[in-house]
Symmetry: C2
Subunit: 133 residues, 2 copies
DNA sequence: AGTTGACCTGGAGTGCACTCCAGGTCGTAG
DNA sequence: CTACGACCTGGAGTGCACTCCAGGTCAACT
């Protein structure tokens, strides 16, 4: 199957402009073109875009995604380096999850404080709650 | 206790420039000044900076942090709105954690693929592994 | 008295990841 | 046959969150 840029955008969740942008910066190999010169994305293109958006979600900078994309073009010889990139990204994602978990705990604590303030709102002297909030 | 801007930067993990920047954009109330006009951050200032950096870690945009900071200046009457902001942020953090967890699973899957490629490297026809990688 | 180093100000510059625009080409529907 | 909508290109513009800079003040050390 092949997809127009609008369809590829819909399926990937990226904007049309972003698809062309990714192509320009070599994140994405130029897709096939139809008879009229319009882009015709393949399923492989879409799969790659899907993976790219996952990498983006993990916070990988475009620079690194470009490196990964470029390695991919160099075939099996680059598999070791590609794996290393993914392992490093895995590490950074796990770290980020832990960090966010810590933030979640702090938010819960703060929210609980506010809930208490709400419950005691009649007995609080103004300004007092500022110390912890 | 009070702290020079350099010390406040060290303790908050923010740069000196960022501290002045946060003050300019009203994320941070102007700290006290010493006799020579230099900033003297209080423990309260540092605590607030600590919380701000947590909010930043959660991905809260500066715009929202400014709103929270501004509400804080309006005392107890704004507690409800502040709590709502935190609850919303809590929701978005939990969502983000789930999303990252999904990415982690995909990374694990890919990494495992590469590990298999490594193990079978002698029996692989070139290009074959590209289909899944 | 002079030099150093930390700090001050207002404003300009940076890097990232898009996002938008003007002006043009196609293929199909009315 | 012309009007429309979807697509094309190269290039400029945007928003965010800093980050850097020039030129200046001040207290302390030598």
């Amino acid at each position: 199957m092949s997809y127009s840029i609008a369809e590829a955008a819909r399926r990937s969740g990226l904007s049309i402009d972003t698809l062309r942008y990714y192509e320009r910066i070599k994140l994405l190999d130029p897709p096939a073109r139809d008879a009229a010169g319009r882009r015709a994305y393949s399923d492989d293109d879409l799969n790659w875009l899907g993976f790219l958006t996952k990498l983006r979600t993990t916070g990988m900078p475009i620079k690194s995604m470009r490196e990964y994309a470029s390695l991919r073009r160099h075939g099996v010889a680059s598999a070791g380096r590609r794996k290393a990139l993914l392992v490093e990204q895995r590490r950074s994602v796990a770290e980020r999850i832990a960090e966010l978990q810590g933030c979640l705990d702090i938010l819960d604590y703060k929210i609980d404080n506010y809930a208490q303030v709400e419950r005691n709102v009649l007995g609080v002297e103004p300004g007092r709650e500022e110390i912890s909030a």
